[in-house]
Amino acid sequence: MASVRRNPNKIKQGSVAVDIILYAIALVICLITLYPFYFVVIMSISSPSEVAAMNVFWYPKGLFFDSYELIIRDSKMWWAYSNTLIYVVAGTILNCFTAVLGAYPLTVRNLKGRKWVIAFLLIPMYFGGGLIPSYLLVNKLGMYNTMFAVIIPGMVSIWNIILVRTFFTTIPDGLKESAFIDGASHWQLLFKVILPISKPILAVIAIYSIVGIWNSWFDALVYLPNEKLHPLQMYLYRVVVQQSVDLKMLSLEDTKNAVANMLSNIQLKYAIIVFTTLPVIFTYPFFQKYFIKGALLGSLKE
């Protein structure tokens, strides 16, 4: 009977040692990833003096919930929250809508100049108009200092169109042809045949849009001087900026105010970060599989 030679150095699949090593690595990565979140949470509920002294590392010191009370009581924060919800819902719906309408024609084989249109769409992905021309456009269109200034310019994403188009091209031609044979128009084909089987890609776009819009603040910084229209991230931005004042540039009188502002904001900013991030953090687990799908779609080539 021939004996099987065993290589003592070979790491077997399913080996306990390998499992332990892999779990240990995964655990370390998890801790590295999760600790910043945990750190922000414990800072947000620790005493302001302990936070200013940076004495908090493993657990909260001197439990202090006044910052949360301050935030909850601040009507500006609730304004910002409701604005963000409006921006997110409106932006997401419009993004899905424009992505679908933009993508479908680009999958129609006999559409004349289709390749030119695709090439044309790629240009704005690499080159922007610049801040001042964008500002002039928004201003001339009468959108400056209105919610439209944040919603409309962000409603079309070329990236999303390309993702949806890539997905549509994976749908078998036979399905489309049979729909046409049954007398369906392009509209009927799109809305009654293609869209019902395109939920995964719509979910991908929706989650990309939700996260993107939830975290955005720059458009609001430029186009929305009215604080009643500010999204939540602008609220956070303002607290952080108040804290980064160069005290050396100020006179004695102004320094007093700046120091007072800075001190009260040191702890407050952590509470605001928790408050502004939680909804999106809770959204992630539910949409995780779509994120992965989105990444795969982006990697496909025709």
Binding site: S49, A52, A53, M54, N55, L85, I86, Y87, V89, A90, I93, L94, L131, I132, Y135, L136, N139, K140, G142, M143, Y144, N145, T146, M147, F148, I151, L221, V222, P225, N226, E227, K228, L229, H230, M234, Y237, R238, V241, Q242, Q243, S244, V245, D246, L247, K248, S251, L252, T255, K256, N257, V259, A260, N261, M262, L263, S264, I266
Partner: protein, 530 residues
């Protein structure tokens, strides 16, 4: 399941519609806190003006609540009497810099009067060249009732010089500040080294009288564990990368890479002054002894505050009359301001002063101003004695009173939160630096009465101290012309970087003083105008 889907879709559609409606409403309202003016309610409607500026950053005293403050009633009456009807567009101060830069660069949607303090001189002069900002001089000549001239020519003559551009025109009005003592003497305050008074007393250490004693004192404080936490962590917070910490002036050095020697009317650079090498030798000693906390070099205000709160800061550079650091120390503490300490034979230590006369901020009239006469009337109202009183002191009997010597002193030295509750505040906290310039006739008497005696004594000693350098050199320099600006920008970028790096490395001992001539040669190479 289908019903759920329908519900969700309906809800999303409803939010979308609400969003659109909300956006529509805002567009029609144009409500960037754009508030119709309270002034000119009596019907003198000829002076409509749109003003754009940053909202105040005070958390408790807010411009939105101005109606509840008697001082606003008085200022509003002044504006109303001038026939002005004002629309305020106030943008959150943290956002204002971006908003104003974008709007001015685009040249559209401009108000009549605008706070352009966030723009540097180069940008402002370019805007003026493009005709976006108006030259104020002919407008003042034509429309002013004399208030502006009186303020600029008589009360603050230096203001005119520092706001007149090289072409002889004037494109902006400014905040004007004057601090006096006993009604006449200019009263600068100093930026000096502060040292923990309570620790000196606890350890029975004398107040240092020379730079060497200062070093030994800091060492003793650390070695004897003044904060009692069992660690040698009592440190000096000092940034050696620049020259604006007060130790540099003990060695007779200017406060910036180019600094103004006001008394001799010269511009000097610390790199070419006698005490420079001794200064770096001294810093090297502080670093070597572990007294100077090198981890804070280039650190943020928040990081420095952390050390302060942890009760580890023995000494730092700050205003001699500051009272805002002490409450932030865990366990409490007191800071004693030091007079300039002798460091080198043959060099009289200099003080660093905040000038008693300040000119800052910029308020301009734009090309879109439809009624420039009203705009000048607005500034005539601002540069009046009455407004200056309301702005800085408030209302006599309510927010301030006269002391035995006739000097103004505040009545309610309370926190802003308390002042907001009782509705008693001077105008500066309510509307200063928004679209309303600050015109301030401050006095030292009140400040002396609100600080501990040892701080007041230091201030009285520093009043006439010489020699000195100032912390705001820009106040003494003329506005450069285009060519000068271009040259300055080209030179300073590289030179400042080199200076900062070199100063840090010399202080840390990473570069040797033996190669001094090479450093200076490199600096001269970078300053190709010399």
């Amino acid at each position: 399941m289908k019903r759920w889907k329908r519900t969700i879709v309906s809800a999303m559609a409803a939010v979308l519609v609400i969003g659109v409606v909300a956006a529509c409403n805002n567009s029609s309202g144009e409500s960037t806190k754009k508030e119709s003016g309270d002034s000119a309610s009596s019907g003198q409607q000829n002076g409509k003006l749109r003003l754009l500026g940053p909202a105040g950053s005070n958390k408790y005293i807010k411009f939105d609540d101005r109606a509840k403050y008697p001082v606003w009633g008085e200022v509003d009456k002044l504006l109303s009497d001038a026939g002005l009807q004002l629309d305020y567009e106030l943008v959150p101060s943290e956002q204002y810099s971006v908003v104003i830069k974008t709007r001015m660069a685009s040249g559209t949607n401009l108000p009549d009067i605008v706070n352009i303090s966030a723009l540097d001189n180069t940008t402002v002069l370019n805007l003026a060249k493009q005709g976006v900002l108006l030259d104020l001089k002919p407008l003042i000549e034509k429309y002013s009732n004399g208030n502006i001239k009186k303020m600029y020519d008589v009360e603050f003559p230096y203001a005119k010089k520092s706001t007149t551009s090289p072409d002889g025109k004037m494109y902006w009005f400014s905040d004007l500040h004057k601090k006096t003592y006993q009604g006449k003497d200019p009263a600068p305050v100093s930026l000096t080294m502060l040292i923990r008074k309570d620790w000196l007393e606890k350890l029975n250490l004398p107040v240092p009288a020379t730079a060497e004693e200062y070093l030994q004192t800091l060492k003793a404080v650390r070695d004897k564990d003044a904060n009692g936490n069992g660690k040698k962590d009592e440190v000096l917070v000092y940034d050696p990368s620049k020259f604006d910490g007060a130790i540099a002036q003990w060695f007779g050095l200017g406060t910036d890479i180019t600094a103004v020697d006001v008394e001799s009317k010269k511009v000097v650079s610390p790199w070419y002054q006698d005490g420079i090498k001794d200064y770096f030798r001294y810093l090297q000693q502080l670093v070597k002894e572990g007294i100077l906390d090198t981890s804070l070099i280039g650190g943020t205000a928040e990081q420095k505050q952390q050390k302060m709160t942890e009760n580890q800061v023995t000494s730092l550079s700050d205003y001699n009359l500051e009272t805002y650091q002490e409450p932030t120390i865990q366990g409490g503490g007191e800071y004693l301001p030091l007079m300039p300490l002798k460091a080198v034979d043959g060099i009289t230590p200099a003080a660093q002063l905040e000038p008693p006369f300040l000119v800052w901020q910029k308020y301009a009239i734009t090309k879109d101003a439809k009624n420039v006469e009203a705009a000048i009337k607005f500034f005539d109202t601002i540069y009046s004695d009455k407004y200056a009183d309301f702005l800085y002191w408030g209302i006599e009997g309510q927010t301030y009173k006269k002391d035995d010597n006739g000097a103004n002193v505040y009545i309610n030295n309370k926190s802003d939160e308390d002042l907001a509750k009782i509705g008693q505040t001077p105008g500066v906290k309510l509307f200063g630096d928004t679209v309303f310039p600050r015109v301030q006739f401050a006095n030292l008497e009140f400040e002396l009465s609100s600080v501990p005696k040892y701080k007041a004594d230091n201030e009285l000693s520093i009043l006439k101290y010489k020699p000195y350098f100032v912390n705001m050199n820009g106040n003494y320099l003329a506005i450069p012309d285009d060519k000068q600006l271009e040259t300055k920008t080209k030179i300073l970028t590289n030179l400042s970087t080199y200076s900062t790096e070199l100063a840090t490395k010399l202080a840390l001992g990473q570069k040797s003083l033996d190669h001094w001539d090479e450093y200076i040669a490199e600096m001269k190479r970078l300053d190709w105008t010399s």
